[in-house]
């Protein structure tokens, strides 16, 4: 077992463990996982007392505790092996083991849950499809479903749209993320996107947590409708309004006041620059398209001056530039080349030119002047302020600012925020990369719900979250602990989000035990249990006595045995004094002690005190282990995965993988202290049913020679000279009682072909005394893209239109198609060979 050091955090640290274990158990962990390492790090911090650690560790099933004789916690250990952990709750307590999460899912099918906006009916989908930039085709993927409260969801959307949120917002507007106000934007859509209410009466929104397979860091995904709705709410609150900007400049010598006052009134990257041109610009009856190519080493800025009713466009830059402007309208195509002219103002040199027909530039600033404040004569001054001024962008709302270099959301085309579709379309146009890294689910085979990544707030709590390090460009939450952006508040927020998801009209999102499939076909859970084993009681106490002496007591008894007093007296009863000693052996189970007495031989009292064995049979439980699926598919079963069990004094036995997988396995030994015979029961519990599935017998007695005859009997047994020993028993000779145990051992010695040889009591004593499972798993070799070329095995009745990707039909009725016989045959043939939908 992996031994961990002392020291574990309390408070938020325990919550962190809960989160880590929640994610870890769902995705499969073990000592190599980042979460486990994080826990180790916390344990090694030494910041807390053992008592504190004891209280916390006791609530985590993956860890076991060891105490010294004083009752002090001295050791914390990680249960299970390095490659297979018993993470999660006991399998035996689960109603349906078929939905127990595999410790490592190679084919990741998530239980996705959706709620119908009209009926409120909750349905469970099959598969998440993951789209990712750079991948040729979507893949099936896994996500952890949870819910989030309104404030966290909305703030996450804001961060994704390049906004920064700090606590000042809540000082001024403590209920900024007011759900009542949110719901009023579009009540119908609000009803659709909310998943229900938590214990505090707050609306919840479904999120998917995807986990990076390399870093184990989570990223939150939200469905696009909720994303648009939160954006619409923020639009209504003025979050995206552009405040009057003011330019300040150090040297305003000679600068007209009108220029200082008027510039820059608006700075907006409103012109979408695609390659070298934009298209479709222009309005009215004379639409035109314009594009420009620029050569220059510095960014070129574009500005427009309206002088009376005339409007002229200009361009400026710190370095020389050339601007080739092209205009294409109904009259034809026009090409004009502009070269920036050198200008000097307040000892600053720069370049500017008229830029008619050049609407597309990189780093474009579209300047809107108040009419008649400026004139074309101010064009140089305008360029000076644009190039050398400091632009201050005051906050429209206290506590909400723009992220530096963030990609801002332009709301100029959105006239009515309650039109969620228009908001959604604007988001798609301006942030297409978000939809390129999306999750999709299709719960009914027709409706497709898209989840896109958002950046979560990493500070604050509840409905007052703060950005605190999160950014638009880093949606992944670093939970590694080293240089991470994790804070106490984030942990609590995440835990609240993951663990506060509640049951609503049959909807469950428990990460430990996903919900049962809607239509199992056929019944997939077992039931019943085996009858209990009744150990016989009673013994012929008048004919023999059984003692459990210690080593010292044995030595003392032996001394008395060979003393003259014993021999003289015993010879009056037996020809051979050793006939009074029936047997001496060692068993490897604690016998039941009924009291102490001196050892009697016949009527002679040796005077040597010893424990007295009170019962012939004793039961030893070796405990139980969970055997979870590792892959979550056929690889977990025969013939791929092989399960064997080592049983002390018996050997290694093969178990049917299907009998024990997804079950809790318990080993119980029943031992006969007189003969050493042992019976190992393997009890398997699964789906709250089960019992003794396997039994094996052996012998756990080590015989000790107390006479030359008994010694020969032991040796003969070990040498498999069974005939001589049996003959001794049949003759009822003096060797019979002593040889009984040895014969028993020989008769019960088992020969193993695969992994172990005979395990009699004498040889078994040299073996391992604790049972263990040997699980042999395959190393899979599946091509990443095989689903799209071959598909997964399936056996399901479908309508072709409900499928996507590659399918191959086993049976198909080609009907209701107005085609020739040859075409119908070809359609059937193609469907059976496989098509791509």
């Amino acid at each position: 077992m992996e031994i961990l050091a002392s020291g574990i955090t309390t408070g938020w640290g325990s919550q962190w463990e809960t989160l880590a274990n929640a994610i870890n158990s769902y995705y499969g962990g073990g000592v190599d996982s980042a979460q486990y390492q994080r826990v180790v790090q916390m344990l090694n911090s030494g910041e807390y007392t053992m008592e504190e650690m004891d209280a916390i560790i006791g609530n985590i099933p993956e860890f076991s505790r060891t105490y010294n004789s004083a009752g002090e916690l001295v050791q914390v250990s990680w249960k299970g092996s390095a490659t297979t952990s018993n993470a999660g709750s006991s399998i035996a307590s689960e109603i349906n083991s078929n939905v127990t999460t595999a410790t490592k899912s190679q084919f990741e099918t998530a239980q996705t849950i959706t709620k119908d906006a009209q009926t409120g009916t909750v349905t469970i989908g099959d598969t998440l499809t993951k789209y990712k930039t750079g991948q040729l085709a979507p893949t099936t993927a896994k996500g952890v479903f949870s819910s989030a409260i309104a404030g966290v969801t909305a703030a996450g959307v804001g961060i994704t749209l390049a906004k920064t949120i700090d606590g000042a917002l809540y000082n001024a507007l403590p209920a900024f993320w007011d759900e009542h106000g949110m719901s009023a934007i579009n009540p119908e859509t609000w009803s659709y996107i909310t998943a229900g209410e938590n214990d505090f009466g707050s609306a919840l929104f479904n999120l998917i947590f995807g986990i990076d397979p390399e870093t184990n860091n989570p990223t939150a995904y939200i469905d696009e409708t909720t994303f648009a709705y939160m954006t619409a709410y923020m639009i209504s609150q003025g979050v995206f309004d552009i405040a009057d900007e003011h330019a300040s400049i150090d040297d305003t010598t000679g600068l007209p006041q009108s220029v200082i006052d008027a510039l820059p009134l608006a700075c907006s990257e409103s012109l979408q620059f695609t390659g070298d041109y934009i298209s479709g610009r222009g309005t009215g009856s004379d639409p035109a398209s314009e594009y420009a190519t620029i050569t220059g080493s510095s960014p070129v800025y574009y500005y427009v001056i309206q002088d009376g009713s005339s409007i002229v466009a200009y361009a400026c830059s710190l370095e020389p530039f050339t601007l080739d402007a092209y205009t294409h309208n109904r009259y034809g195509e026009y090409h004009t080349t502009h070269t920036g002219s050198k200008a000097t103002y307040n000892n600053k040199e720069f370049y500017y030119c008229q830029a008619d027909g050049a609407s597309a530039l990189d780093r474009v600033y579209y300047y809107t002047a108040t009419p008649n404040i400026l004139s074309f004569a101010d064009r140089i001054e305008c360029a000076y302020v644009i190039l050398f001024g400091v632009h201050e962008e005051p906050q429209t709302i206290a506590g909400i600012t723009d992220q530096p270099n963030g990609k801002r959301f332009n709301i100029s085309g959105i006239s009515d925020p309650s039109d969620i579709n228009s908001v959604l379309n604007a988001l798609k146009n301006q942030y297409p990369e978000l939809w390129q890294d999306r999750y999709e689910i299709s719960p009914d085979g027709e409706t497709v719900i898209k989840y896109i990544p958002i950046s979560l707030p990493t500070g604050g709590t509840g409905n007052q979250p703060t950005t605190d390090g999160a950014s638009q460009t880093e949606p992944e939450v670093d939970i590694s602990g080293e240089g991470s952006n994790v804070t106490d508040e984030l942990i609590k927020t995440l835990i609240d989000m993951i663990q506060n998801a509640k049951t609503t009209e049959g909807m469950e999102s428990d990460m430990q035990t996903p919900t049962q499939p809607v239509n199992p076909n056929p019944a997939d859970t077992g039931s019943g249990s085996t009858p209990p084993a009744v150990i016989p009681t009673g013994t012929a106490k008048s004919l023999f006595a059984i003692y459990n002496p210690s080593q010292t007591e044995i030595n003392n008894f032996g001394a008395w045995l060979w003393s003259p007093a014993f021999v003289d007296q015993l010879l009056k009863l037996f020809n051979d004094p050793m006939q009074s000693i029936i047997g001496l052996h060692k068993i490897f189970a604690q016998p039941t002690i009924s009291g102490t007495d001196t050892i009697h031989v016949g009527y002679l009292d040796s005077g040597v005190s010893s424990n007295v064995v009170g019962a012939q049979y004793v039961t030893v439980s070796c405990g139980s282990v969970n055997l979870s699926e590792y892959f979550g598919n056929v690889f977990d079963y025969d013939p791929f995965t092989d399960v064997q069990i080592y049983l002390p004094f018996i050997g290694i036995e093969k178990l049917n993988t299907g009998d024990v997988m997804r079950g809790s396995i318990e080993v119980v030994y029943h031992v006969d202290v007189i003969t050493g015979a042992c019976l190992a029961e393997i009890n398997v519990t699964r789906d709250l049913g089960g019992g003794t599935i396997y039994t094996y017998s052996g012998n756990c007695a080590v015989q000790y020679p107390i006479s030359s005859g008994s010694y020969m009997g032991i040796v003969a047994s070990l040498a498999s000279i069974a005939g001589g020993v049996v003959g001794t028993i049949a003759s009822g000779g003096a060797l019979a009682p002593v040889a009984f145990g040895a014969v028993n051992g020989a008769l019960n010695a088992r020969t193993r072909v695969e992994h172990s040889g005979g395990f009699s009591g004498n040889s078994g004593a040299m073996g391992i005394k604790k049972p263990y499972l040997i699980i042999t798993r395959p190393q899979t070799a599946l091509a990443d893209t095989f689903p799209m070329f071959n598909g997964y095995p399936a056996n399901k009745s479908v309508v072709i239109g409900t499928c996507s990707g590659f399918i191959k039909c086993d049976k198909i009725h080609v009907e209701n198609i107005n085609a020739t016989t040859e075409e119908l045959s070809e359609i059937e043939s193609l469907l059976k060979d496989g098509i791509i939908i």
């Binding site: 092996s81 490659t83 297979t84 099959d126 499809t129 008048s542 004919l543 023999f544 006595a545 459990n548 080593q551 008894f557 006939q579 000693i581 029936i582 047997g583 001496l584 189970a589 604690q590 031989v601 016949g602 055997l627 056929v634 030994y669 080590v702 604790k770 049972p771 263990y772 499972l773 395959p778 190393q779 899979t780 070799a781 689903p787 997964y792 399936a794 056996n795 399901k796 479908v798 309508v799 072709i800 239109g801 499928c803 996507s804 990707g805 399918i807 039909c809 086993d810 198909i812 009725h813 209701n816 198609i817 040859e822 075409e823 359609i827 469907l831 060979d833 496989g834 791509i836 939908i837």
Partner: protein, 145 residues
């Protein structure tokens, strides 16, 4: 007879084809040609950039199997009906039993020849929490009670 030529970028067994660069022209059927595998004469400078066609009169889409130059500017193209795209909507309404599926209906617990593994294996050990006594206990049986 009208015919529309395309560039088809999709796999042959894909139901919904991605067609580009539609080029519409008129053609004439070669005598005694079938609807499923027609040969069509078209006047075009060079049709070899196209690989797909649609004949509205037949209501069918075709793969272009081959080109034959009849004379300068006159080509004969051989077509092979694409039943998948031609009857796409009807096919989508069909019901059946799928044996392999990329998404809908896939079952990770069904046997199949897709489950491939290496000859190498990994072995894991799970120890039970406890076992028999490590050192054992003496049992002495003597005659008499």
């Amino acid at each position: 007879m009208q015919i529309v030529l395309y560039n088809n970028l999709s796999e042959k067994n894909k139901l919904n084809k991605t067609l580009q660069n539609a080029y519409e022209l008129n053609g004439a059927l070669k005598e005694e040609t079938s609807v499923l595998n027609p040969d069509v004469l078209i006047e075009i400078e060079n049709p070899t950039n196209f690989n797909y066609a649609y004949i509205p009169e037949f209501g069918r889409y075709y793969f272009i199997k081959g080109f034959t130059s009849v004379r300068n500017g006159l080509w004969r193209i051989s077509l092979d009906v694409d039943v998948l795209y031609s009857f796409k909507d009807e096919i989508l309404n069909l019901s059946g039993i799928v044996s392999n599926s990329e998404t809908n209906g896939a079952d990770n617990y069904l046997n199949g020849d897709v489950w491939k593994s290496k000859v190498k294996e990994t072995t894991s050990i799970i120890n039970f929490p406890s076992g028999l006594s490590e050192n054992g206990h003496f049992i002495l049986i003597t005659a008499g009670g």
